[in-house]
């Protein structure tokens, strides 16, 4: 299996006013193409910081993040913006759709920033909305969608541009059980169909139960890395 993400001795220290905090401590991991991985651990264990580091949203204090042979640890901000745009999809806890755009426009947004052709872009957006079961909500703005529906649009947005991997920071935290299962079914199916690497940070047992790999972080360091055949 081809390695998509590789971290080497990844460390992030926050200099708080009281004492420096090691949010991520010397983490070396590899993530293969098409993996469905859950990063778990108690609050403050460094899950989100780790995701931010491998997503290029934050700079490590030490160590490297290598994505497809490209070290993004010390990349300039302008290049990092382009890199993220082309290679990484994000799903956040609180949906975070653009409120003034319709579902289709939200899904098209990243492809639009990538300057994709209009027709292909719209076709792909509609296709993705169909895949997440929202073909009847194409022209609806986020305020008219339920939380679960908004998160499905967010998933469609993250996957529409066919990124190398998708980072999802507690995507089911704000969803009821039915919506959460529904979303996980969709993500799991898309993971298999599109062979996109999915990495979740989560507390949610429903997500953990679906993951084929579970990495447990404690105090910023990897305490367990288990693989499951699901």
């Amino acid at each position: 299996m081809k390695t998509v993400i590789k971290t080497k001795d990844l460390t992030k220290i926050y200099n708080s006013s009281v004492a420096p905090v090691k949010a991520v401590n010397n983490v070396s991991l590899e993530f293969g193409e098409g993996e469905f991985t859950a990063i778990v651990g108690p609050s403050g264990s460094g899950k989100t910081t780790f995701l931010n580091l491998i997503g290029g949203l934050d700079k490590p204090t030490e160590g490297q993040v290598i994505i497809d042979d490209t070290d993004i640890s010390n990349m300039k901000e302008s290049k990092l913006f382009d890199f993220r745009l082309k290679n990484i999809g994000f799903v956040f806890q609180s949906y975070n759709l653009i409120p003034v755009l319709t579902a289709k426009e939200n899904v098209s947004f990243i492809m639009l920033l990538q300057n994709q052709a209009k027709e292909a872009m719209e076709k792909r957006a509609v296709e993705m909305l169909e895949q997440v079961g929202l073909s009847d909500k194409i022209d609806v703005r986020p305020s008219k969608l339920s939380g679960g529906q908004q998160q499905r649009v967010a998933v469609a947005r993250a996957l529409a541009s066919k990124p190398k991997f998708v980072l999802a920071d507690e995507p089911t935290a704000n969803l009821d059980t039915e919506s959460a299962f529904n979303l996980l079914d969709i993500m799991s199916r898309l993971n298999k169909e599109e062979n996109i690497t999915l990495i979740f940070s989560t507390h949610d047992q429903r997500v953990i139960d679906r993951a084929r790999r579970i990495i447990t972080l404690v105090d910023g360091a990897v305490s367990k890395d288990e693989a499951f055949d699901r």
Binding site: L57, F81, F92, N96, V100, R157
Partner: protein, 408 residues
């Protein structure tokens, strides 16, 4: 860019009421500023029009020394050089009004009075300022007559009436004494006491003989075909006339003190209108601050998913510009018809003030101008303020820590 514009436009209408209030504040500031500037410009136009038509004309050709030392010794020769120069530029000239004028002593019996004698061609003077319409008794002379028309105040002070004789004594050209007696053939009334108590009119040729200055003028007034060509005409005439003998002066050069007084008043009004702009600017700024701070999390997310800081800054800048442009356009749309109506139907001022204005030779109205400059100035000023205000969100976006913003 189209997408960024679309986003900015839609963002504006997320909170319709707030946008409406901000746009309204800009609109009212623009309408008020337009009204003030329109009144100021209207007053200035009325004043200039009045002074130009009553006194200076658009331009004057004078002897080179006359402006600094107005005496009969500094009259100009109204001869071939002047004629040919005027002919050369006749396409820019509407008409000319020749005058010879000077202070004299007017007397009747034992009474004497300082008077201002002006030799004129009545037809040309009427075209410029409709002088004959001010006649209250007798009639205006024609070019070949030899009698005087005097102002009502002079007539009262010297107890002159139609048919009486006024004796004039003054200084003529090159040390000659100017002395003559003229029958009073008409009495004219001026609203300004300064004019009403001093003016004595003689036919031009008669005045030239009186001042011993035949074929000479103190000033040759020129009315331009088009007001916008005054400076060009002045330059052309200056270029063609011998600068050793002749000077060409525009009305602005002939009354610099008065125009300076207007400039001072304009500056005060501009200062007040800038206060309005600042109030409007803070209105926009307040809205923008709220719009930015309530969306910091969204900004963090947008930057995370791939929107560049410059693109986000453009969205924010366009939001500011949209508010300002809508406000300014609404202000102009509301303000222009009001100013247009006031321009066509000027407000009549009250009795006391009307009397003062009449005394000063002005129509007793509050004139409003609809010069395009006024509206362009408002639009440009608010636009510049919007750009300045718009720099705040731009700076904010470029300094934004996207992780902490996304967590808000």
């Amino acid at each position: 860019m189209k997408t960024l514009l679309k986003l900015a436009w839609r963002n504006l209408w997320r909170k319709k009421r707030r946008t409406f209030i901000t746009v309204s504040s800009v609109m009212f500031a623009v309408v008020l500023a337009i009204a003030m500037m329109s009144l100021i410009e209207g007053t200035r136009e009325l004043f200039v029009e009045s002074v130009v038509s009553q006194t200076t004309g658009h331009l004057q050709i004078q002897d080179v020394m006359y402006h600094d030392e107005p005496s009969m010794d500094h009259t100009l020769e109204y001869g071939e050089e002047v004629y040919s120069t005027l002919e050369k530029h006749s396409d820019l000239i509407d008409y000319t009004v020749p005058r010879i004028q000077g202070f004299c002593l007017g007397a009747k019996d034992m009474g004497t009075r300082g008077v201002f004698v002006m030799g004129i061609i009545p037809g040309k003077e009427n075209r410029m300022n409709n002088l004959s319409s001010r006649m209250v008794e007798g009639e205006m002379f024609s070019d070949n007559d030899d009698y005087a028309v005097i102002a009502e105040g002079v007539a009262n002070l010297l107890e002159l009436s139609i048919g009486d004789t006024i004796v004039l004594i003054g200084q003529g050209f090159q040390g000659m004494s100017a002395a003559g007696k003229f029958k009073v053939g008409g009495i004219i009334e001026f609203p300004m006491p300064e004019q009403n108590n001093t003016m004595v009119y003689l036919p031009l040729q008669e005045a030239q003989w009186f001042f011993a200055a035949p074929e000479r003028l103190t000033n040759l007034i020129i009315m331009a075909e088009n007001e916008s060509n005054i400076n060009t005409l002045a330059q052309n005439l200056s270029d063609d006339l011998d600068s050793e003998w002749f000077a060409v002066k525009t009305y602005e050069e002939l009354m610099p003190d008065v125009l300076q007084a207007f400039e001072t008043r304009d500056a005060q009004v501009r200062l007040f209108s800038w206060i309005l702009y600042i109030v409007a600017g803070f209105g926009i700024f307040g809205t923008i601050i709220m719009m930015i701070h309530e969306r910091l999390r969204e900004f963090g997310i947008l930057l995370s998913i791939g929107l560049k800081r410059a693109q986000l800054a453009i969205i924010c800048l366009f939001e500011t510009l949209f508010i300002s442009v809508i406000g300014v356009l609404s202000g102009i749309v509301v303000g222009f018809p009001i100013m247009y109506w006031l321009n066509k139907n000027p407000i009549q001022v009250g009795d006391d003030l009307a009397e003062v204005m009449l005394d000063m030779g002005f129509e007793p109205v509050m004139p409003f101008s609809i010069a395009p400059d006024i509206f362009i100035y408002q639009a440009t000023t608010i636009f510049i303020i919007a750009i300045v205000v718009g720099l705040y969100p731009v700076r904010k976006v470029f300094k934004l820590d996207m992780i902490s913003a996304a967590r808000k």
